[in-house]
Subunit: 140 residues, 2 copies
DNA sequence: TTATATTAGTTCTATATAGAACTATTAGAT
DNA sequence: ATCTAATAGTTCTATATAGAACTAATATAA
Protein backbone atom coordinates (compact mmCIF):
# COMPACT_ATOMS: atom_id res chain seq x y z
CA UNK A 1 0.00 0.00 0.00
CA UNK A 2 1.07 3.52 -0.74
CA UNK A 3 2.36 5.17 2.40
CA UNK A 4 1.13 8.44 0.93
CA UNK A 5 -2.39 7.30 1.62
CA UNK A 6 -2.07 7.59 5.37
CA UNK A 7 -3.85 10.93 5.64
CA UNK A 8 -6.75 9.76 3.51
CA UNK A 9 -6.94 6.63 5.63
CA UNK A 10 -6.94 8.67 8.82
CA UNK A 11 -9.76 10.79 7.44
CA UNK A 12 -11.80 7.71 6.58
CA UNK A 13 -11.29 6.13 9.98
CA UNK A 14 -12.27 9.39 11.60
CA UNK A 15 -15.54 9.69 9.72
CA UNK A 16 -16.44 5.98 9.92
CA UNK A 17 -15.86 5.95 13.67
CA UNK A 18 -17.99 9.05 14.09
CA UNK A 19 -20.72 7.43 12.03
CA UNK A 20 -20.60 4.31 14.17
CA UNK A 21 -20.76 6.27 17.41
CA UNK A 22 -23.66 8.38 16.18
CA UNK A 23 -25.55 5.21 15.33
CA UNK A 24 -24.84 3.76 18.77
CA UNK A 25 -26.16 6.97 20.33
CA UNK A 26 -29.36 6.71 18.30
CA UNK A 27 -29.80 3.07 19.28
CA UNK A 28 -29.95 4.23 22.88
CA UNK A 29 -32.44 6.96 22.11
CA UNK A 30 -29.88 9.73 22.14
CA UNK A 31 -30.84 11.65 19.04
CA UNK A 32 -29.49 14.87 17.60
CA UNK A 33 -26.09 14.51 19.22
CA UNK A 34 -22.79 13.86 17.48
CA UNK A 35 -19.41 12.80 18.72
CA UNK A 36 -18.37 16.30 19.80
CA UNK A 37 -21.35 16.50 22.13
CA UNK A 38 -20.35 13.15 23.53
CA UNK A 39 -16.80 14.37 24.10
CA UNK A 40 -18.16 17.31 26.07
CA UNK A 41 -20.27 15.04 28.25
CA UNK A 42 -17.43 12.59 28.80
CA UNK A 43 -15.24 15.46 29.97
CA UNK A 44 -17.97 16.58 32.35
CA UNK A 45 -18.26 13.05 33.74
CA UNK A 46 -14.60 13.31 34.54
CA UNK A 47 -14.24 16.91 35.69
CA UNK A 48 -17.80 17.76 36.80
CA UNK A 49 -17.45 21.49 36.05
CA UNK A 50 -15.65 23.17 33.17
CA UNK A 51 -15.71 26.61 31.58
CA UNK A 52 -16.39 27.08 27.88
CA UNK A 53 -12.72 27.76 27.32
CA UNK A 54 -11.64 24.67 29.22
CA UNK A 55 -14.10 22.56 27.24
CA UNK A 56 -12.86 24.01 23.99
CA UNK A 57 -9.36 22.99 24.99
CA UNK A 58 -10.41 19.48 26.01
CA UNK A 59 -12.19 18.69 22.78
CA UNK A 60 -9.90 20.76 20.56
CA UNK A 61 -12.55 22.98 19.02
CA UNK A 62 -12.80 26.75 18.71
CA UNK A 63 -14.77 28.62 21.30
CA UNK A 64 -17.48 29.75 18.89
CA UNK A 65 -18.02 26.11 18.00
CA UNK A 66 -18.36 25.34 21.69
CA UNK A 67 -21.07 27.96 22.02
CA UNK A 68 -23.15 26.11 19.44
CA UNK A 69 -22.45 22.64 20.81
CA UNK A 70 -23.27 23.63 24.38
CA UNK A 71 -26.43 25.44 23.27
CA UNK A 72 -27.68 22.15 21.89
CA UNK A 73 -26.76 20.23 25.03
CA UNK A 74 -28.65 22.82 27.07
CA UNK A 75 -31.63 22.65 24.72
CA UNK A 76 -31.78 18.88 25.20
CA UNK A 77 -31.25 19.29 28.93
CA UNK A 78 -27.98 17.40 29.26
CA UNK A 79 -26.03 20.31 30.77
CA UNK A 80 -26.55 23.74 32.26
CA UNK A 81 -24.54 26.94 32.16
CA UNK A 82 -24.05 29.24 35.14
CA UNK A 83 -21.94 32.40 35.30
CA UNK A 84 -18.95 32.28 37.59
CA UNK A 85 -19.47 34.43 40.69
CA UNK A 86 -15.74 35.22 40.90
CA UNK A 87 -15.12 36.22 37.31
CA UNK A 88 -17.93 37.56 35.16
CA UNK A 89 -16.23 36.45 31.98
CA UNK A 90 -16.51 32.77 32.79
CA UNK A 91 -19.44 30.44 32.50
CA UNK A 92 -19.40 27.06 34.15
CA UNK A 93 -20.92 24.08 32.40
CA UNK A 94 -22.23 21.29 34.59
CA UNK A 95 -24.30 18.15 34.06
CA UNK A 96 -28.01 18.04 34.70
CA UNK A 97 -29.68 15.01 36.22
CA UNK A 98 -30.56 13.81 32.72
CA UNK A 99 -26.96 14.30 31.67
CA UNK A 100 -25.70 12.17 34.55
CA UNK A 101 -28.27 9.54 33.69
CA UNK A 102 -26.56 8.77 30.41
CA UNK A 103 -23.07 8.32 31.78
CA UNK A 104 -23.27 4.54 31.60
CA UNK A 105 -24.42 4.67 27.97
CA UNK A 106 -21.52 6.84 26.95
CA UNK A 107 -19.05 4.60 28.76
CA UNK A 108 -20.51 1.52 27.10
CA UNK A 109 -20.38 3.09 23.67
CA UNK A 110 -16.78 4.03 24.25
CA UNK A 111 -15.92 0.49 25.34
CA UNK A 112 -17.76 -0.94 22.34
CA UNK A 113 -16.14 1.25 19.74
CA UNK A 114 -12.69 0.55 21.12
CA UNK A 115 -13.19 -3.17 21.25
CA UNK A 116 -14.42 -2.93 17.65
CA UNK A 117 -11.56 -0.90 16.21
CA UNK A 118 -8.93 -2.81 18.21
CA UNK A 119 -10.17 -6.21 17.06
CA UNK A 120 -7.11 -8.27 16.19
CA UNK A 121 -4.70 -5.80 17.80
CA UNK A 122 -2.19 -7.05 20.35
CA UNK A 123 -1.36 -4.86 23.34
CA UNK A 124 1.94 -4.08 21.67
CA UNK A 125 0.17 -3.05 18.46
CA UNK A 126 -2.11 -0.71 20.36
CA UNK A 127 0.82 0.91 22.08
CA UNK A 128 2.85 1.16 18.91
CA UNK A 129 -0.04 2.77 17.09
CA UNK A 130 -0.52 5.38 19.80
CA UNK A 131 3.18 6.08 19.85
CA UNK A 132 3.36 6.61 16.09
CA UNK A 133 0.22 8.73 15.95
CA UNK A 134 1.44 10.91 18.79
CA UNK A 135 4.70 11.45 16.98
CA UNK A 136 2.80 12.34 13.83
CA UNK A 137 0.59 14.77 15.70
CA UNK A 138 3.58 16.54 17.22
CA UNK A 139 5.02 16.97 13.74
CA UNK A 140 2.01 19.01 12.67
CA UNK B 1 -0.81 7.43 27.24
CA UNK B 2 -4.36 6.15 27.29
CA UNK B 3 -4.97 3.86 24.36
CA UNK B 4 -8.57 4.99 24.48
CA UNK B 5 -7.46 8.32 23.11
CA UNK B 6 -6.63 6.97 19.69
CA UNK B 7 -9.83 8.16 18.03
CA UNK B 8 -9.48 11.65 19.43
CA UNK B 9 -5.89 11.68 18.26
CA UNK B 10 -6.90 10.55 14.79
CA UNK B 11 -9.47 13.33 14.66
CA UNK B 12 -6.89 15.91 15.68
CA UNK B 13 -4.35 14.74 13.13
CA UNK B 14 -7.03 14.81 10.48
CA UNK B 15 -8.04 18.37 11.16
CA UNK B 16 -4.50 19.67 11.72
CA UNK B 17 -3.34 18.14 8.46
CA UNK B 18 -6.28 19.65 6.60
CA UNK B 19 -5.48 23.00 8.13
CA UNK B 20 -1.85 22.73 7.05
CA UNK B 21 -2.78 21.77 3.50
CA UNK B 22 -5.31 24.58 3.20
CA UNK B 23 -2.64 27.03 4.29
CA UNK B 24 -0.20 25.65 1.74
CA UNK B 25 -2.85 26.07 -0.95
CA UNK B 26 -3.37 29.70 0.04
CA UNK B 27 0.36 30.34 0.00
CA UNK B 28 0.31 29.38 -3.65
CA UNK B 29 -2.64 31.60 -4.44
CA UNK B 30 -5.16 28.77 -4.45
CA UNK B 31 -7.95 30.24 -2.39
CA UNK B 32 -11.39 28.92 -1.55
CA UNK B 33 -10.39 25.29 -1.94
CA UNK B 34 -10.11 22.69 0.80
CA UNK B 35 -8.55 19.27 0.93
CA UNK B 36 -11.51 17.54 -0.69
CA UNK B 37 -11.17 19.73 -3.76
CA UNK B 38 -7.50 18.85 -3.85
CA UNK B 39 -8.31 15.16 -3.66
CA UNK B 40 -10.60 15.52 -6.66
CA UNK B 41 -7.90 17.26 -8.67
CA UNK B 42 -5.24 14.74 -7.69
CA UNK B 43 -7.53 11.95 -8.89
CA UNK B 44 -8.04 13.77 -12.16
CA UNK B 45 -4.27 14.17 -12.59
CA UNK B 46 -4.07 10.43 -12.31
CA UNK B 47 -7.15 9.30 -14.24
CA UNK B 48 -7.83 12.30 -16.52
CA UNK B 49 -11.57 11.65 -16.75
CA UNK B 50 -13.94 10.47 -14.03
CA UNK B 51 -17.68 10.48 -13.51
CA UNK B 52 -19.27 12.04 -10.44
CA UNK B 53 -19.89 8.59 -9.04
CA UNK B 54 -16.34 7.47 -9.62
CA UNK B 55 -15.04 10.62 -7.96
CA UNK B 56 -17.33 10.10 -5.00
CA UNK B 57 -15.87 6.63 -4.62
CA UNK B 58 -12.28 7.84 -4.92
CA UNK B 59 -12.58 10.50 -2.26
CA UNK B 60 -15.10 8.63 -0.12
CA UNK B 61 -17.80 11.28 -0.08
CA UNK B 62 -21.50 11.09 -0.88
CA UNK B 63 -22.63 12.03 -4.34
CA UNK B 64 -24.55 15.10 -3.22
CA UNK B 65 -21.37 16.34 -1.58
CA UNK B 66 -19.57 15.79 -4.86
CA UNK B 67 -22.11 17.94 -6.65
CA UNK B 68 -21.23 20.86 -4.41
CA UNK B 69 -17.47 20.30 -4.53
CA UNK B 70 -17.39 19.99 -8.30
CA UNK B 71 -19.61 23.06 -8.71
CA UNK B 72 -16.96 25.07 -6.92
CA UNK B 73 -14.13 23.62 -9.02
CA UNK B 74 -16.11 24.54 -12.14
CA UNK B 75 -16.80 28.03 -10.82
CA UNK B 76 -13.07 28.55 -10.27
CA UNK B 77 -12.31 27.01 -13.66
CA UNK B 78 -10.24 24.04 -12.49
CA UNK B 79 -12.47 21.40 -14.08
CA UNK B 80 -15.32 21.03 -16.55
CA UNK B 81 -18.29 18.72 -16.72
CA UNK B 82 -19.58 17.13 -19.93
CA UNK B 83 -22.42 14.65 -20.31
CA UNK B 84 -21.47 11.21 -21.51
CA UNK B 85 -22.62 10.60 -25.10
CA UNK B 86 -23.11 6.88 -24.41
CA UNK B 87 -25.11 7.11 -21.19
CA UNK B 88 -27.15 10.16 -20.42
CA UNK B 89 -26.98 9.56 -16.68
CA UNK B 90 -23.23 10.08 -16.54
CA UNK B 91 -21.25 13.28 -16.50
CA UNK B 92 -17.54 13.26 -17.07
CA UNK B 93 -15.30 15.58 -15.11
CA UNK B 94 -12.06 16.63 -16.74
CA UNK B 95 -9.34 19.17 -16.01
CA UNK B 96 -9.24 22.57 -17.64
CA UNK B 97 -5.98 24.16 -18.72
CA UNK B 98 -5.93 26.08 -15.46
CA UNK B 99 -6.52 22.86 -13.56
CA UNK B 100 -3.57 21.19 -15.25
CA UNK B 101 -1.44 24.23 -14.51
CA UNK B 102 -1.60 23.57 -10.78
CA UNK B 103 -0.58 19.92 -10.91
CA UNK B 104 2.96 20.67 -9.78
CA UNK B 105 1.69 22.70 -6.82
CA UNK B 106 -0.54 19.90 -5.61
CA UNK B 107 2.25 17.38 -5.95
CA UNK B 108 4.64 19.62 -4.04
CA UNK B 109 2.13 20.18 -1.27
CA UNK B 110 1.57 16.46 -1.01
CA UNK B 111 5.32 15.83 -0.80
CA UNK B 112 5.70 18.57 1.80
CA UNK B 113 2.92 17.42 4.06
CA UNK B 114 4.17 13.85 3.99
CA UNK B 115 7.75 14.80 4.73
CA UNK B 116 6.38 16.89 7.59
CA UNK B 117 4.17 14.26 9.21
CA UNK B 118 6.72 11.50 8.66
CA UNK B 119 9.56 13.44 10.28
CA UNK B 120 11.45 11.04 12.52
CA UNK B 121 9.68 7.96 11.08
CA UNK B 122 11.74 5.06 9.80
CA UNK B 123 10.57 3.20 6.71
CA UNK B 124 9.52 0.38 9.00
CA UNK B 125 7.50 2.78 11.16
CA UNK B 126 5.70 4.15 8.13
CA UNK B 127 4.81 0.68 6.97
CA UNK B 128 3.76 -0.46 10.43
CA UNK B 129 1.52 2.57 10.81
CA UNK B 130 -0.19 1.96 7.48
CA UNK B 131 -0.66 -1.68 8.34
CA UNK B 132 -2.25 -0.93 11.70
CA UNK B 133 -4.49 1.81 10.34
CA UNK B 134 -5.67 -0.40 7.52
CA UNK B 135 -6.54 -3.09 9.98
CA UNK B 136 -8.42 -0.58 12.09
CA UNK B 137 -10.31 0.71 9.06
CA UNK B 138 -11.39 -2.78 8.09
CA UNK B 139 -12.74 -3.29 11.59
CA UNK B 140 -15.15 -0.42 11.13
C1' DT C 1 -42.95 -3.97 -25.81
C1' DT C 2 -43.99 -2.28 -21.67
C1' DA C 3 -43.66 -2.00 -16.76
C1' DT C 4 -40.47 -2.05 -13.05
C1' DA C 5 -36.11 -1.58 -10.90
C1' DT C 6 -31.74 0.33 -10.82
C1' DT C 7 -28.53 3.88 -11.35
C1' DA C 8 -26.37 8.83 -11.77
C1' DG C 9 -26.97 12.94 -10.39
C1' DT C 10 -29.32 17.15 -8.22
C1' DT C 11 -31.98 19.86 -4.89
C1' DC C 12 -33.48 20.96 -0.35
C1' DT C 13 -32.57 21.20 4.31
C1' DA C 14 -29.95 20.73 8.51
C1' DT C 15 -25.68 21.09 11.10
C1' DA C 16 -20.84 21.08 12.84
C1' DT C 17 -17.21 24.01 12.27
C1' DA C 18 -14.34 28.06 11.78
C1' DG C 19 -12.94 33.07 10.79
C1' DA C 20 -13.87 37.79 11.77
C1' DA C 21 -15.76 41.17 14.25
C1' DC C 22 -17.91 42.12 18.29
C1' DT C 23 -19.18 42.77 23.75
C1' DA C 24 -18.13 42.49 28.39
C1' DT C 25 -15.13 41.74 32.05
C1' DT C 26 -10.73 41.50 34.38
C1' DA C 27 -5.64 42.26 34.68
C1' DG C 28 -1.64 45.07 34.18
C1' DA C 29 1.05 49.21 33.50
C1' DT C 30 2.04 53.77 34.45
C1' DA D 1 -6.86 55.76 39.55
C1' DT D 2 -7.00 55.41 34.86
C1' DC D 3 -5.86 53.72 30.52
C1' DT D 4 -4.69 49.80 27.89
C1' DA D 5 -4.09 44.66 27.31
C1' DA D 6 -5.81 40.51 27.55
C1' DT D 7 -9.33 37.23 28.11
C1' DA D 8 -14.09 34.64 27.81
C1' DG D 9 -17.65 34.33 25.30
C1' DT D 10 -21.16 35.38 21.50
C1' DT D 11 -22.92 36.64 16.94
C1' DC D 12 -22.71 36.69 12.05
C1' DT D 13 -21.51 34.55 7.99
C1' DA D 14 -19.69 30.99 5.03
C1' DT D 15 -19.05 26.18 3.82
C1' DA D 16 -18.27 21.11 3.66
C1' DT D 17 -21.03 17.38 4.45
C1' DA D 18 -24.87 14.22 4.65
C1' DG D 19 -29.86 12.48 4.63
C1' DA D 20 -34.11 12.44 2.19
C1' DA D 21 -36.70 13.13 -1.55
C1' DC D 22 -36.49 13.96 -6.10
C1' DT D 23 -35.54 13.69 -11.66
C1' DA D 24 -33.85 11.58 -15.58
C1' DA D 25 -31.94 7.85 -17.94
C1' DT D 26 -30.88 3.05 -18.62
C1' DA D 27 -31.36 -1.94 -17.65
C1' DT D 28 -34.13 -5.85 -16.68
C1' DA D 29 -38.08 -8.83 -16.51
C1' DA D 30 -42.59 -10.10 -17.87
Amino acid sequence: MDKKAVLALIGRIHSKANEYITQELEKRGIRGLVVSHGEILVNLYRYQRLSMKELAGKIDKRKNTLTVLVEKLIEFDYVEKTPSPEDGRFFYITLTEKGRLFQKDFEEISTNVYSLIYTGFSEADQEKLMELLEKMYKNL
